[in-house]
Amino acid sequence: MKKLILALLLSMPFCLSAAIEQREFETPQQEHIYKTLLEELRCLVCQNQNLAASNAGLAQDLRQQSYEMVVQGKSLDEITGYMVDRYGDFVLYRPPFKPITILLWLGPFILLIIGLLAAFYFIRSSQSAETETSVSQSGLSPEDIRKLLDDEKQP
């Protein structure tokens, strides 16, 4: 049994590597463009995988399409543009910064600021509540305290 598990574990890297076709490129730059595309483009059927990670039929087709365009000498921008024209911004794993995505990009920071303000407000109000209680515990009325403070100011 242990041996079987070991054999399965050892064969796993082969299963994973089988998902991606071996490609040949004329220049290292082309290979770089292709690898970037595979990381940056989403497989639309599987949603949370990029083209590099997915073995779905559509991902294979889009890899093939990307490869052919790379070999034809198309630039990274041209190929991503081609994909966005067909599938929309959703095909990009890194959504572009534009009016419709402002909330997506800035939302977390807005939430952070709201959180910090809330924390600040909370800490301050609890601190002043503490001073109030310690003052009332002293048994002095506010007027007495004011008098004491005034006395201190005028030696």
């Binding site: 949603q47 039929g57 559509l58 024209d85 067909r86």
Partner: protein, 175 residues
Amino acid sequence: MRHILPLGAFILLVALLGFGLTLDPRKVPSVLIDKPAPLFELVQLHQPDQTISTTDMKGKVWMLNVWASWCGACRQEHPLLVELARKKVIEIVGLDYKDETGAALQWLKQFGDPYSVIAYDGDGRAGIDWGVYGVPETFIIDKQGFIRHKQIGPLTPESLEKTILPLINKLKEEA
């Protein structure tokens, strides 16, 4: 009073999450709406020696239905297409997506053939141009050759009644 703010924030959060549940993350809005239909020229499934091109359809309101014999949901929507064709509501062009010719023909024999012509897209290239990512998908194209509607997933009686049939009637009246 001091509970109102957290409670309000909580209710807002629940409302937002609740709204999120009603959305379907699988539906990717098409960028092709109101854009010219992508061109294709493909061999016909029934007559492989002849081709069919999107330019052949200029001047007509037509439907492009992307289907395949391996697609289960296509079988589900198929009777609706047969019905549309029988009533001659709209000309339906099929796009047989990444399919085997033999299996596709057999499938049509079994379930009926509502298509005026079927383009055979064996390698899925035309599919990529049309932004197809899951079959079945159905497009409505107007007389000017612009895509006016895309339905992702199978047609349903509701989607036909509410959206597609009124749109077809409207488009037919357009010049």
